[in-house]
Amino acid sequence: MLSSILTRITARGGRIAFGLAGALLALAVQAEDVGGYVLQGSKAAELDSCVEDTRVMRRRHFELIKHQRDVTVYGGIRSTKHSLSGCVSCHVVHGPDGQPVPIHDDGQFCEACHAYAAVHMNCFDCHATVPVGEAWNRAQSAAHVSKHRAALAQVADESPHAVSREEDSPR
């Protein structure tokens, strides 16, 4: 009698243990699935990791962005790697028409994961959702300068800085 009860308990324990292991496995699989929001075709898809380790970015990206926000607004430092415009320019994908798809559209990088996590973000109430007008309007200014200050325009074009800025404009 006793042995049969013991057997039954052990069997149940086994079942519970098996069930737990299964649940954990499912969770693990699910956790892997959560990572799949980087879209093919974006610059980010070609890189091994984001500006920090992927695990750090998943857990703390909002803290990094928020810290950068104050550094930028009060300190005028816009060039560091944790800037929101950097997120957008690296993670945005381009549609069939060659135009960038807004990063907060359905299924896009930011929106897809935030929808999954049920977290509302309001970054893009104000911030641009596609990389446009990142630095100041260099082309327009150059046109102005060349029109009336040809000498200065020549200096600006010859300086190596003018070239490098256009290349590394997404920040």
Partner: protein, 267 residues
């Protein structure tokens, strides 16, 4: 009709004289630029990289507007500002009254025309945030969103602006605008959203990238007026201090003792 004809006839010799003067000024400016070019290049290269250290009070940015050179009917500074700061991307709501919209849409620079009723003298000037040393908008802000950056630029931290508009009431220059509607299109360098106040920030994104210029001053120079000189109030050898030293100038509402960063000549 007669008046029009007269005006046209007058304008022709005027325009010719102007053209001659401009070409002379242009060549003079070219010589000047060539002469100072080595210094300019050194300066630009030294400061032209995006900044990596926080702004400090070694600079105080400001402007001198020569109202005698500010042409009536010219809106080059306003237009350049709109393009530079994405203000031209604001869309009028479908049900809005166009006149009300024109009054309510955000503008950072307004062209103001003053007339002395006794003498009839007319003065044109661009009016924007004056970047006061003691800004009333900062005094009244209940959240600390309105603030003065270390380099003297008065700005709004729109992350903590609650849109109460006290600053708009406090500003003697009517320099601030409120964003009433959702903004669909915006530039990366100029975030903008419903429910926040904003105003001229002296093209801070340019300064932060090491470019010592503003869109309005560039546009004014491109038009050949050279009415706006932008520079560092703390640089005793800079173009701004030089111009301030040479021209009689004043602050608008000097009586308020705000010590504005934007000064006006021939006003």
């Amino acid at each position: 009709m007669n008046e029009n004809t007269n005006a046209t006839e007058q304008r022709v010799p005027d325009g010719l004289a102007d053209a001659g003067r401009r070409s002379f000024l242009g060549s003079a400016a070219g010589i000047g630029a060539a002469a100072v070019a080595p210094g300019v290049v050194l300066h630009t290269v030294a400061n032209a990289a995006p900044r990596t250290t926080p702004v400090d009070d070694s600079h105080r940015w400001g402007m001198l507007v020569d109202t005698a050179k500010c042409a009536e009917g010219c809106s080059a500074c306003v237009d350049a500002c709109e393009v530079e700061n994405g203000l031209d991307l604001q869309d009028m709501p479908e049900d809005a009254d166009p006149i009300k919209w024109e009054n309510q849409r955000a503008t950072w620079i307004r062209k103001v025309k003053l007339q002395d009723n006794q003498s009839g003298r007319v003065t044109n000037l661009p009016l924007m945030c004056q970047h006061c040393e003691h800004p009333p908008c900062v005094d009244v802000c209940p959240t600390g969103a309105s603030f003065k950056r270390a380099d003297g630029i008065v700005m709004v931290d729109r992350h903590i602006c609650i849109g109460c508009r006290y600053c708009m009431m406090a500003c003697p220059y009517k320099a601030r605008s409120f964003i009433h509607e959702v903004v669909e299109r915006k530039l990366t360098r100029a975030p903008r959203g419903k429910g926040c106040v904003e105003s001229c920030n002296l093209c801070a994104h340019r300064l932060d990238d090491g470019e010592i210029s503003t869109a309005c001053a560039d546009a004014c120079a491109a038009e050949g007026h050279q009415a706006i000189i932008f520079g560092d109030l703390k640089d005793p050898n800079g173009p701004l201090r030089k111009a301030l030293g040479e021209t009689s100038n004043r602050q608008i509402r000097q009586d308020l003792g705000l010590n504005t960063g934007v000064r006006y000549a021939n006003l």
